[in-house]
């Protein structure tokens, strides 16, 4: 799992049927200090996250497909939590 920040939202009408009804967010990967760490990507939203939220993301397809109760969906990432705090030793 990784940390990311919600930076956008994507709407598509013509899409794979396993994506019907799924909310698709654009995410910027971040490190624990909140700095950008890598290229933006897209993920299903399983927790109703909003713009600017710091979120927890799974990059496993099977887990991602379960976030919208559609096992086997053609998806490779999903938001599975909204982060409240990050503490570093």
């Amino acid at each position: 799992m990784i940390l990311a920040r919600v930076v956008g939202r994507v709407v598509a009408t013509q899409k794979d049927r396993s994506h019907a009804g799924a909310k698709i967010l654009q995410l910027q990967p971040i490190d624990p200090e909140g700095r950008d760490a890598g290229e933006p990507f897209l993920a299903f939203d399983g927790v109703d996250a909003g713009p600017g939220d710091r979120v927890l993301v799974t990059l496993d397809g099977w887990s991602a497909s379960w976030t919208i109760r559609r096992p086997g969906a053609a998806v490779d990432a999903a938001v599975i939590g909204v982060v409240d705090t990050v503490e570093l030793a």
Binding site: V10, A12, T13, Q14, Q26, P40, F41, L42, A74, D76
Partner: protein, 87 residues
Amino acid sequence: MRLARVVGNVVATVKNPALDGKKILICKHVGAGGRPEGRAFLALDSIGAGWGELVYYVRGKEAAFPFLPDEVPSDATIVAIVDSWEA
């Protein structure tokens, strides 16, 4: 998944039979403003995408899922044509 712009296509006659009739599209990731940037890569089309369109694609073993029960070899498959994108 990632956003990409379709910038071309590839034609191959000799190929895995499961690829027959499938479009192989050349894509580039998009940066701010939706402009294509970086190195081109290939993705299989499952949705009827074409030249110039903004799409998103899925990577990894899940790239084969849109074609099930056919077992199509793909590690990147376009699964949606993007209508709008708010950044």
